[in-house]
Every structure is written in structure tokens, then in C-alpha cells.
């Protein structure tokens, strides 16, 4: 008998079987088909049918109610980057949709896979300035990898199948699907097939073996090669290949803040951070290397400084998935297009084992100089005021480098990225390209939900915290286990630093008269502590890290401390200042 029943069962499970459902119900079923078990969002009129359908699937899909749609997007980003999955956001039309824009822009510039689904006014009202109507397709176009509007229920499966495929394939990015309310109500014959390709879209360019040969030849003949790696290594899951490659060739390697954690901090070939507030050696020696090998990074201006003074002496090799990044900022001698997991694997075969001891020593000599002039004082300050660096140093001692670091934007971000120790990849979540203040708190809660087995520390400044402070409520409601560290200097510190250095100390609109953050956190039922003295710092951080559940620790740090080294804007990387 079983032989007769078996085919029927298969057919029942097949995704091609049609069933009559509403558009809203189809949306939820598609989320399940795509393996989504967590969505972030905020309900409202035009998305209500989808929320009504979600009500029936509470066991399978957990919905996180953010307190602002921007918070939902950053939480989805934090979730995506900690888990490697696609972040999903739901929002209503009009203001709900426009509030997604900052998160979309952040995800677009930092290549984070995200699918946003917005409700829209009924199709008959489109274009009539209806209540809560906004042209979210037009508004979101510059900040999405792809977007589309659906006005009939039967278009939903194809639109969402494409959305998930485009968001996560190739160079990932955010997509938005706008669904009119009538399409959500409409019944249709539902079936679903995942998208596996689009004829006009090449997510991963085909690797050209001649380019690999040319790159290998340059690398094999290089005397002072230098590697710059970015988030491409993490997004391509190529950490192991990357490590094999650098260990075989013995090439010193520096990271962009998006590439941070792809290589463990203590690796002997990890020479530190690139860019404006990066380490001394990587910046200075960029202009002394003979071959520059960029892997999954895009030569952002915060990394290169003045392009006319950037690595002019070097041959440039660029391993990159996105052809539009080749020659966009820095002229490349050999462009190796493709997924870096594949291109590194091919390159490992062709490169000769080598070590560049003397060259590596140059970086270590620079480190020694930076240590003496900057790092020692930052990590072990002798004056009374607490420094951001010493807080990070103690966190490293407690977590041993196993935590996920989430940061907001500003001085604390630079200090945290410079000094946090990492043992494993996908552990640094920051707003790199867009520099979005307000990113840290929601991204922290998203990361905690995306990696529930790991310690998540969200380091935030007093400016950025107040931009999305309402997400404390989401942390409380979801019981997200996120450790929120406020480094409070009562200033918009980075802007103040620039004002001090480049605007004659004219502190225009950067001083903050702050609320009592302790009372605020308590109001959200989050356990809190505040440290103003060095003697209490160590114990407070122990409690902060070990507490079972979310915790808010506020540390009062020096009001007018600066982040060094620094490549002043308009200067070349070699003009990096240590003080």
C-alpha cells in the first residue's frame, strides 16, 4: 500500500502544487519556504493583511516589533551579518516605508543582504496622494540593489523569489518589494519555486585563469607585497582560503573596518587597520610596497585618503566580485574578477611559498612607534580620566576575543575597531560605508538574535545612542542578550575632534547636555551600571559581560580625548599623524 501512498506525499510536499490563498498568506508561506524564522518590522494600515496572516504562523516565524522602522532595518542588518542569513523587514506604506531608507542605504553601501516588504495603498489609489501613500519605489531606488511593486496577488511569488535571490547572490544587498493592500487581500492559485537565476544578471563573474596567472606572477616577483582585505572575504566565506594564501606567500595583511575579524587579531601576518584612523604601518607602508593586493575591498576614500598620493609606486592587483569596482577609485594593473573563495583557491595553486621577514619587520617597527606614541597611552592612561581604549582592553580580557562587537559611529567606533581582539569571523558589525549614527543599538539586538550562543557587545556613543534609544524597548520585549556599552564623553566626539584640529576649536553644536541614561535604561527594565572611576571599571565590566541577559553599562570617559593616528582629510596615507 505504501507504494501507492508515497507519490501522493511527495506531491503534497512539492512546492509546485497550487492552493488558493490570499496574497498576504502567500507572503508568509514564501518567508517559510525561504527559511525565514525571524522578521523585524512595524505594522500599519497597508501591511495589516500580512500581519494578520503572520498571526497564524507565530510558532514558525518570530516577529520582532521594533520601535521605529529604522530600528527594524538596522536590527535586520545586525541579524544578517551575525548569522549570514538574509535580514527581513516588514513595514507599512508612507512613513513606515520612508523610515526604512537609512537602513536600506546602509545595507546597500555595506553589501548586507536584506529583503524589505512594504505595504502600499490599494492599486486603484496609486498616484492619487492617498492617505499614507508614498512613492517608495522611486525613493528607495538609489539605495536598493533591486526593487519592485506588486499590484496583483499572482505576482507575489515571482517578486519575492527574485527578491531573496538578488539580495543574497553575488555582491549582496538590500531589495524592496512593495505590495498594494488589495493584492494582499486578493485570492489566487499559489505555488512557489525559488529563483536560481535571471537572464540579465550575472552575480559572479567567471574567473579568468589568465588573470590569475598574471596576478601570481606579480606576487611571485614582488619584494614588498602588501594585502588589503575587506568584507568580500567574509561575504564570500573565504576566510580559510584567505589564511592559506597569506600563510603560503608570507604577505603582511591589513584590513578595512568591514573586513575586520576575517583574520584573527593575533595572526602574525595581521598588521592592522587601514584608513583614516587605522594603524601607522599599514598607512605609511601603502606608499612603499611594490605590489598591492586588494581582496574584496573597494578603496573607499576613508581607506585611501588623497588618491593622487595613494600607492603610486605599486602595481595593483584587485580581487573583486563586482566589475563596477574595478578602476573606480584606484587604477588596477591586474583585475581578478570572481568570487574571492574561487579566485583565492586558484591563486594559492600558482603562488610560490615565500616569507617577507624584513618587510614584515617594517610593519612591526611602525607598530612599536605607534605603541609608544598612541597605544600605550590609550590602553593604559596615566591621567585620571578614563579612556575609551582602556575600556575595550578590559573587555578583551573578559571575553578573550570571542565576542561579537557591534558599534555605532564615531570616536568609540574607531577605538573599538582598533583595539578589540577577534578570534573568529563574522564578529564585527559596524556601519562602515554610510557611517550611520543610531546603527549600534538596533544592530546589537539583531546580532544577539542572530547569534544567540555568542556574547554580543554593542559599543555606542552618547550621540548615536539617542538616535535610536527607543530600541531598548525591543531589547526588553525580545529578551535579546545584548551588552550595551555607552562610552559617554558628553560630546559628539569625532566632530568635536575635527573642530579642535581643523576649525580652531570652534565647538559648534557638538556639546551634549545629556539625560540621565541610567534612569532611561531602568525605565526600559534593563539592568544598568555607571562607572566614573578607574577602580570600579574592572568589576563593572566583569558584571556587564557575565550578566545573564541584556545589560547597560555607562562609562564616563575623557570629554576631549582624540583618536589617533589620523590621516587628515585631503592628505595622502603616508601623511598619517601620530599626534
Amino acid at each position: 500500500m505504501s507504494t501507492i501512498e508515497a507519490p501522493t506525499k511527495t506531491e503534497m510536499n512539492s512546492t509546485t502544487v497550487t492552493e488558493r490563498v490570499t496574497g498576504a498568506n502567500a507572503v508568509v508561506r514564501i518567508l517559510l519556504e525561504e527559511g525565514v524564522d525571524l522578521v523585524f518590522g512595524y505594522p500599519g494600515g497597508a501591511i495589516m493583511p500580512v500581519y494578520d496572516s503572520l498571526y497564524d504562523y507565530q510558532q514558525q516565524i518570530h516577529h520582532v516589533l521594533a520601535r521605529h522602522e529604522q530600528g527594524a532595518t538596522h536590527a535586520a542588518q545586525g541579524y544578517a551579518r551575525a548569522s549570514g542569513k538574509v535580514g527581513v523587514c516588514l513595514a507599512t506604506s508612507g512613513p513606515g516605508a520612508t523610515n526604512l531608507i537609512t537602513g536600506l542605504a546602509d545595507a546597500q553601501i555595506d553589501s548586507t543582504p536584506m529583503v524589505c516588504i512594504t505595504g502600499q495603498v490599494p492599486s486603484g489609489l496609486l498616484g492619487s496622494d492617498a492617505f499614507q501613500e508614498t512613492d517608495v519605489i522611486g525613493i528607495s531606488m538609489p539605495v536598493t540593489k533591486w526593487n519592485t511593486q506588486v499590484t496583483r496577488a499572482e505576482e507575489i511569488p515571482e517578486a519575492l523569489a527574485k527578491a531573496f535571490y538578488i539580495a543574497k547572490s553575488g555582491r549582496p544587498g538590500p531589495v524592496l518589494v512593495d505590495i498594494t493592500k488589495d493584492a494582499q487581500f486578493q485570492e489566487f492559485d499559489f505555488s512557489y519555486t525559488k529563483c536560481t537565476g535571471l537572464r540579465s544578471y550575472v552575480p559572479v563573474p567567471k574567473l579568468d585563469p589568465t588573470k590569475v596567472e598574471q596576478a601570481a606572477e606579480l606576487i611571485n616577483n614582488a619584494e614588498r607585497p602588501f594585502i588589503l582585505f575587506g568584507q568580500g572575504v567574509i561575504l564570500g566565506n573565504a576566510e580559510a582560503e584567505f589564511k592559506t594564501f597569506i600563510e603560503k606567500t608570507g604577505i603582511p595583511s591589513a584590513w578595512t573596518i568591514m573586513g575586520l575579524s576575517a583574520l584573527e587579531t593575533d595572526h602574525p601576518l595581521n598588521v592592522g587597520m587601514l584608513g583614516m584612523h587605522g594603524n601607522y604601518g599599514p598607512n605609511l607602508l601603502t606608499n612603499e610596497c611594490d605590489v598591492l593586493i586588494a581582496i574584496g575591498m573597494r578603496f573607499d576614500d576613508r581607506v585611501t585618503g588623497n588618491l593622487s598620493k595613494y600607492a603610486k609606486q605599486a602595481k595593483v592587483i584587485h580581487l573583486e566580485i563586482d566589475p563596477a569596482e574595478i578602476d573606480k577609485n584606484v587604477k588596477t594593473d591586474v583585475a581578478v574578477l570572481g568570487d574571492c573563495k574561487e579566485s583565492l583557491t586558484a591563486l594559492i595553486e600558482k603562488v610560490k611559498p615565500n616569507s617577507h621577514k624584513e618587510w614584515l619587520q617594517r610593519f612591526r617597527d611602525c607598530d612599536a612607534m605607534e605603541h609608544e606614541k598612541v597605544i600605550q597611552g590609550e590602553l593604559h592612561p596615566t591621567d585620571e580620566k578614563l579612556s575609551m581604549g582602556e575600556v575595550i582592553r578590559i573587555i578583551n580580557e573578559k571575553t578573550n576575543g570571542d565576542a561579537i562587537l557591534v558599534t555605532d559611529v564615531g570616536q568609540h567606533q574607531m577605538v573599538a575597531c582598533r583595539y578589540t581582539k577577534f578570534n573568529q569571523s563574522k564578529s564585527n558589525i559596524t556601519s562602515g560605508g554610510l557611517g550611520t549614527m543610531g546603527f549600534g543599538l538596533p544592530a546589537g539586538l539583531g546580532a544577539a538574535l542572530g547569534a544567540p550562543d555568542r556574547t554580543v557587545v554593542a559599543v555606542i556613543g552618547d550621540g548615536g545612542l539617542q538616535m535610536t534609544i527607543q530600541e531598548f524597548a525591543t531589547i526588553y520585549q525580545t529578551r535579546a542578550n545584548v551588552k550595551v556599552l555607552l562610552l559617554n564623553n558628553e560630546f559628539l566626539g569625532m566632530v568635536r575632534q575635527w573642530q579642535q584640529l581643523f576649525f580652531d576649536k570652534r565647538y559648534s553644536a557638538t556639546e551634549m547636555i545629556n539625560p540621565d541614561f541610567q534612569t532611561i535604561a531602568k525605565g526600559y527594565y534593563i539592568p544598568t551600571n555607571k562607572v566614573t572611576e578607574r577602580e570600579k571599571l574592572d568589576d563593572a565590566i566583569t558584571e556587564f559581560i557575565n550578566h545573564d541577559g541584556a545589560y547597560f553599562l555607562e562609562v564616563m570617559v575623557g570629554k576631549e580625548n582624540n583618536v589617533f593616528p589620523m590621516v587628515p582629510s585631503g592628505c595622502g596615507v603616508a601623511e598619517i599623524r601620530l599626534e
Binding site: 531606488m141 515571482e158 535571490y165 563596477a324
Partner: protein
């Protein structure tokens, strides 16, 4: 780098909003689009954008890569002036009485290889296909007769190369072995 005239061609899907996505790439870099034309191409269901700009070659190259990066664009390329055969279409509306004072207008039209598209009771429409400068040369000559309306289309162009990018698109579509969403 000197700014020069370029023609950008993109083979695309025919989807709502793609025009907007393409123009955003120019807006972001504050590049003025002199003309933009979207039409059918030699391939069924494949559309073709023709964009005229005056810019440096370096910038045009970067823009073309960003156009090609769009999900719904198959291929994009740029051409220098001498790499394409290009045309624009101009229409001139004049009062019919302009024809009644001798044969001057008819002679001008003939000399410029233009033609009368229609001759109505009150007005005539002259059509001229050619380069932009030719359209303006005719405009200057017709001006004394009173031009009631003038319009110039966007540039259309085909490449002089034996294999244009259209051939590449065709090969891509033929070699297409991936499964699609229906």
C-alpha cells in the same frame, strides 16, 4: 581629461522603473543626459537604451559599468563619435502660407535632404533626419519663414563594429543554461 561626445548603449529587460534606475547613475555624478531613447532592439523582448552625453571617457567608462551592474541590464557599452552611425529626427511646423511666397521653402527642404511630412490647410510639417548640427542648420534657414513649432528627437545610434554588443547579448541568451523563474 577632455570632455567628448559619447553614445552609451544598453540592452535591457523591459521593466517599469528601469529608466529611473539608469538615470540615477548619471544624477549621482551630476552628469547631464543630453538625450535618452528607449526602444525595442533586434531581439524579441529585449529593449535598448541609447544615451547621449558629453563627458570624459574615464567617467563614461565608470558609468557604463554601473549601468551594466543593474540587475535588469544585459550589457552596456559606450562609443566614440566615429564608432557609431547616428541620427536624430527633427520636425518643423510652419504656416502653409510660407509656401505661397515662391519656391524658397521647397528649395531649402530639398537642399537639406528633408521632406514634407504633411501639408495641411493651415500648416505644414517638415521632417529632417540627420545629425543635430544639420537639424539646426535647417532650423536657421527656415527661421525667416516663421517656425511655429520645432522638436528634435533623442539620438539613436548603431555601432560600426561588425559585432556590436547586441551579438554578445544574443550569445549570452543562447548559452543561457540557468533555470529561470517563469
Amino acid at each position: 581629461m577632455e570632455k567628448r561626445e559619447f553614445t552609451i548603449t544598453a540592452y535591457t529587460e523591459n521593466t517599469v522603473g528601469l529608466l529611473h534606475r539608469i538615470t540615477i547613475i548619471f544624477t549621482k555624478r551630476k552628469i547631464n543626459i543630453e538625450s535618452i531613447t528607449a526602444s525595442e532592439s533586434e531581439m524579441e523582448n529585449i529593449y535598448r537604451f541609447t544615451i547621449a552625453v558629453t563627458e570624459t571617457e574615464e567617467l563614461v567608462g565608470k558609468v557604463v559599468k554601473q549601468i551594466e551592474k543593474l540587475v535588469e541590464v544585459h550589457k552596456a557599452a559606450y562609443f566614440k563619435k566615429d564608432e557609431v552611425v547616428q541620427q536624430e529626427l527633427a520636425l518643423y511646423k510652419l504656416a502653409t502660407e510660407s509656401l505661397t511666397n515662391g519656391l524658397k521653402v521647397e528649395r531649402i527642404v530639398r537642399e537639406h535632404s528633408a521632406r514634407f511630412l504633411t501639408i495641411e490647410k493651415n500648416f505644414v510639417v517638415i521632417e529632417k533626419a540627420g545629425y543635430r548640427r544639420e537639424a539646426f542648420a535647417l532650423f536657421e534657414e527656415l527661421k525667416p519663414f516663421g517656425i511655429k513649432e520645432f522638436v528634435l528627437s533623442g539620438r539613436v545610434a548603431v555601432s560600426r563594429a561588425e559585432r556590436g554588443i547586441g551579438a554578445e547579448v544574443r550569445e549570452l541568451l543562447q548559452s543561457e543554461t540557468m533555470e529561470h523563474t517563469p
